[in-house]
C-alpha cells in the first residue's frame, strides 16, 4: 500500500508523456498517436482501479506521498511541496475520469477517423486526461491549481480544434478567458490560504490546511463583517469553481464550447472537466464547513443558492434550445448546479455521488448526440432530425437510457438515486426551503426538455433535408462505448441507494450496511413521490406537446412560442446573459483599452514630444548664441590674429636691412627699458 502510493504519479504522467510524444509525432502518424494515447490511458485506468481496490481494502484510509518541489524561503513555509493523496474521493474520481476518458478515447477513434489533425487531437486529449487525473489526485493546492489551469488549456485547445471556424476560435478564447476570471480569484484564495496558514498541502499528517489545527486558526481570524478567514478563502475558491463548473454568472462559455468536436464535449464539457469545480469544492469541504458546530456556514449558503439558481436557470434555457448539443450543454450546467446544491446541503458524498452518475449518463448522452450528428452529416438542429430510432437502434436505446437517467426516472436509473439524495439533503436543509423548490422545479424542467429532445430526434418521421438513405448506425467503435456507458448509467445508481449507501459510506470512511428497511422509510418515499410526480409531469407535458408534431414529418413552429409574455424569446436568448456581457464588460474593457492607448499615444508620447520640442528650441537658441556670440567672437579673433600674423610675416622677408631695423628698434626699446628700469 505505502509503496503503491509512491508509484501513483504514473497515473497522470503516463497520458502526459503520451501527449508530449504525440505532440512531436508527424501528422501522418495517426496510428501511433492514437495507440499511444489509448494505451497509456488504459494503463492509467488499470492503475486507477488498482488504487481504488487498494483504498477499498484498507477501509478508506488516506495515504499520502509527496516531494519537495522547490524552496523559495526559509523553513517549512518557504518550501513548496507537491504531494498526492489516495483516499476514497480521489480513488473514485480517478476511476471515473480514466474510465469515462478511455471510453471516449475509443469512441473518438471512430468519430475523428477522417479528421486531418487526428494526431493532434489525441495529443490534446491525452494532455487533458493527464491534467485531470493529476487534478483529482493532487494533495496540494498549488498542484491542483496547476492541473486546473492545464485542464483549461486542454479545453481551450480542444474547443478550438477546428481552428478554421471563426466561431470555434472565438469560443475557445471565450472559454479560456471566462474560466480565467474564476481561476484568478481562485488563485488569490490559494495565495491567501498558503500565505496565511503556511501550507498548501491538504493533508500533511496533522499540519495540512484541511486538518484541524490549521482550520481552527483560520476560523479564529475574522476578515469582513462576521466572516471568518476560512469562509472568505472558501468563497474565493468557490469563485474558481463557478468559472470552471459553469455556474451563474460565469456559465456563458460552456454552451459555446460545443463548437469543439463532440467527444470533447462529452469528455470535457460534460463528464470530467466541468466537474473539476465540484470536485474542488468536495476536496476543500472541511474548509467550507469549518466553524462553530451546528451553524450553516455562509459559503455553503452561497453555494446552495448559486447551485439551485443555476440548476433552474439552465434547465429553463435548455427548454427552448434547438441545437442538440446546446440542450445538453445547458443540461450540464443545470446538473452541475445540482451538484453544487448537493454539496452545499448534503455534504461531499451527496455531491460526488451525483457527479459520478452524471459523468456516466452525460457522457453517454453526448456520445449519443455525436453518433446522431455523425450519422446525419453534421446536422445538429433537432427540428431537422426525427425518426432516427428506425435507423439507429443502438444509439436510440442507449440514448434513451441516458435520457431516463438524466431525468431521474424512478428506481432503475442512477440519476434517480443521486438526484433523490440531493433533494433529500435540500429538503432537510435548515436554512431555507428555497433551494428545495428550485431543485424540484429543475426536475420538472429537465424531464420536459429531455422528452422534447428525445421525441423530436428519435420519434416521429424524418424532417428537413436529412434523407433516410444516408442515415446509418455508427460503427462498433462508437456504439460499444455507448453500450458500456448505458449499462454504467444503470449500475452506478445501485451503489448509493438509501438501502445500501455504499458509496456515501466509502467516501465518508464508514462501513455501509445493507438495510432494506431504510429504502421503504416514509421519509424516503414521501419525498420521492413528489419528485417522481414532477418527472412524470414533465415527461407527460413533453409527450403531449411534441408527439404529434414529431409524427408529422414537417418542420413546424415550436409550441413553446405560445408561452405568455415574451417568455419564449427570453428562454431562446438565454435570458440575454451573453448580450448583457456583450454590452457591459466587453465594451468597458474596450473603452479602457482605448483610453489607455490614447493616453499613451497622446498624453505620454505628447509630453515626450513637448519635451523634445522644448529641447529643440533651447538647442536652436543656444546654437544661435554660440554662432552669433561665442563663435563669432572667437572667429573674429582668429581672423585678426591670422591677418596680423600675415602682416608680421611680411617683415621676415629675408632682407638684411629689415632685420637690422628690428635689431635697432629692439635695442632702442631695450636700452630705454633698462635705463628706465635702472633709474627707478
Amino acid at each position: 500500500m505505502e509503496t503503491w502510493v509512491q508509484w501513483m504519479w504514473l497515473i497522470p504522467v503516463l497520458p502526459m508523456v503520451a501527449a508530449g510524444v504525440s505532440g512531436l509525432l508527424p501528422r501522418t502518424a495517426r496510428g501511433w498517436s492514437a495507440g499511444l494515447s489509448i494505451g497509456s490511458l488504459a494503463l492509467s485506468f488499470v492503475l486507477s482501479v488498482i488504487s481504488f481496490a487498494a483504498v477499498w481494502q484498507s477501509g478508506g484510509e488516506r495515504h499520502l506521498y509527496g516531494f519537495r518541489w522547490f524552496q523559495f524561503g526559509p523553513g517549512a513555509f518557504g518550501t513548496l511541496w507537491l504531494s498526492w493523496v489516495l483516499d476514497p474521493l480521489s480513488a473514485s474520481m480517478l476511476v471515473m475520469v480514466s474510465g469515462v476518458g478511455l471510453l471516449i478515447f475509443i469512441y473518438s477513434l471512430g468519430y475523428m477517423a477522417h479528421d486531418a489533425n487526428f494526431t493532434r487531437f489525441f495529443c490534446f486529449l491525452s494532455l487533458f486526461a493527464g491534467a485531470m487525473l493529476g487534478l483529482v489526485m493532487s494533495n496540494s493546492l498549488v498542484g491542483l491549481f496547476m492541473c486546473w489551469e492545464l485542464v483549461g488549456l486542454a479545453s481551450y485547445l480542444l474547443i478550438g480544434f477546428w481552428f478554421q471556424k471563426p466561431a470555434a476560435a472565438a469560443a475557445a478564447k471565450k472559454a479560456f478567458i471566462t474560466t480565467r476570471v474564476g481561476d484568478l480569484v481562485f488563485f488569490l484564495g490559494l495565495v491567501w490560504l498558503f500565505g496565511n496558514s503556511g501550507t498548501q498541502l491538504f493533508y500533511d499528517n496533522g499540519s495540512g490546511c484541511l486538518e484541524a489545527a490549521t482550520l481552527n486558526a483560520l476560523v479564529q481570524q475574522k476578515v469582513w463583517w462576521d466572516w471568518s478567514l476560512s469562509q472568505v478563502i472558501g468563497l474565493l475558491l468557490f469563485a474558481g469553481a463557478v468559472g470552471k463548473s459553469g455556474q451563474l454568472p460565469l456559465h456563458v462559455w460552456l454552451p459555446d464550447a460545443m463548437e469543439g468536436p463532440t467527444p470533447v464535449s462529452a469528455l470535457i464539457h460534460a463528464a470530467t472537466m466541468v466537474a473539476a469545480g465540484v470536485f474542488l469544492m468536495a476536496r476543500v469541504y472541511p474548509l467550507l464547513v469549518a466553524g462553530p458546530e451546528g451553524v450553516v456556514q455562509p459559503v455553503l449558503m452561497v453555494m446552495a443558492w448559486v447551485g439551485g439558481l443555476t440548476a433552474v436557470f439552465a434547465a429553463a434555457v435548455a427548454v427552448a434550445q434547438d441545437d442538440i448539443k446546446r440542450i445538453l450543454a445547458y443540461s450540464t450546467i443545470s446538473q452541475l448546479g445540482y451538484m453544487m446544491l448537493g454539496l452545499a446541503t448534503g455534504g461531499v458524498a451527496v455531491g460526488v455521488f451525483h457527479l459520478l452518475t452524471h459523468a456516466c449518463f452525460k457522457a453517454l448522452l453526448f456520445l449519443g448526440a455525436g453518433s446522431v450528428i455523425h450519422a446525419c452529416s453534421e446536422e445538429q438542429n433537432i427540428w431537422r432530425l426525427g425518426g432516427l430510432r428506425r435507423w439507429m437502434p443502438v444509439t436510440y436505446v442507449t440514448y434513451g437510457v441516458g435520457m431516463l437517467a438524466l431525468t431521474g426516472f424512478p428506481v432503475l436509473f442512477s440519476g434517480f438515486w443521486s438526484k433523490e439524495a440531493i433533494l433529500h439533503a435540500t429538503h432537510a436543509w435548515p436554512v431555507s426551503a428555497g433551494p428545495f423548490w428550485l431543485g424540484l422545479a429543475g426536475v420538472f424542467l429537465t424531464a420536459f426538455y429531455m422528452t422534447r429532445q428525445m421525441v423530436l430526434v428519435f420519434g416521429g418521421t424524418p424532417r428537413g433535408n436529412v434523407t433516410s438513405g444516408s442515415i446509418h448506425e455508427s460503427p462498433p467503435v462508437m456504439t460499444v462505448p455507448l453500450i458500456v456507458l448505458a449499462s454504467l448509467s444503470v449500475v452506478t445508481g445501485f451503489v448509493g441507494t438509501p438501502a445500501w449507501p455504499w458509496l456515501q459510506g466509502f467516501l465518508e470512511g464508514q462501513q455501509a450496511i445493507l438495510d432494506w428497511s431504510r429504502l421503504f422509510g416514509a421519509d424516503v418515499w414521501g419525498l420521492a413521490a413528489i419528485s417522481c410526480a414532477a418527472v412524470f409531469l414533465g415527461m407527460g407535458v413533453g409527450l403531449v406537446l411534441y408527439r404529434r408534431i414529431a409524427a408529422e414529418g414537417v418542420i413546424q413552429r415550436d409550441p413553446l412560442e405560445q408561452l405568455p409574455a415574451g417568455l419564449c424569446p427570453a428562454l431562446r436568448k438565454k435570458f440575454w446573459v451573453d448580450e448583457a456581457y456583450q454590452h457591459s464588460v466587453v465594451p468597458a474593457l474596450a473603452w479602457l483599452a482605448y483610453w489607455c492607448d490614447r493616453m499613451d499615444r497622446w498624453v505620454w508620447a505628447g509630453l515626450m514630444r513637448l519635451a523634445a520640442c522644448v529641447t529643440l528650441v533651447v538647442a536652436r537658441l543656444s546654437q544661435n548664441v554660440d554662432e552669433a556670440v561665442v563663435n563669432a567672437g572667437f572667429d573674429r579673433a582668429c581672423e585678426g590674429l591670422r591677418l596680423q600674423g600675415g602682416r608680421l610675416s611680411l617683415w621676415q622677408n629675408g632682407q638684411v636691412q629689415r632685420y637690422l631695423a628690428f635689431v635697432g628698434a629692439a635695442m632702442a626699446i631695450l636700452v630705454s627699458l633698462w635705463w628706465w628700469g635702472g633709474n627707478r
Binding site: Q652, N653, G654, Q655, L660, A661
Partner: protein, 103 residues
Amino acid sequence: MSPLTGYLVLSAALFATGLAGVLTRRNAIAVLIGVELMLNAANLNFVAFWRYGAGGPDAAGLVFVLFTIAVAAAEAAVGLALVIAVYRHYRTAHVDEVKRLRG
C-alpha cells in the same frame, strides 16, 4: 651741456645717420657708407671718453680706435669685394633684391 655730452650727442647723431643709411639705402655701397659712418661714431665715443671719462694714462681709448680703424679698413676692403662679387652674380648691387636669406 658739458663737452663730453656734446661729443656723445654728436656721436649718437652720427650713428643714427649711419644707421638710417644702412636701413634705407638700396645700394650695397651706400649701405657700406652707412656702416662706415656708424664706425666713426663709435670711434668718436672712444676718444671722447678717453679725453673726458675714466681715461687714465694707459691710452686704452686711443689704442682701441686705432684697432677699429684698422679693422674698418679691412672690413671696407672685404665688403667692397663682396659687393663686387654680388654685383657680378646678380647683376645688381641693390640689397633689397638679394633675398637669399629669406627662408
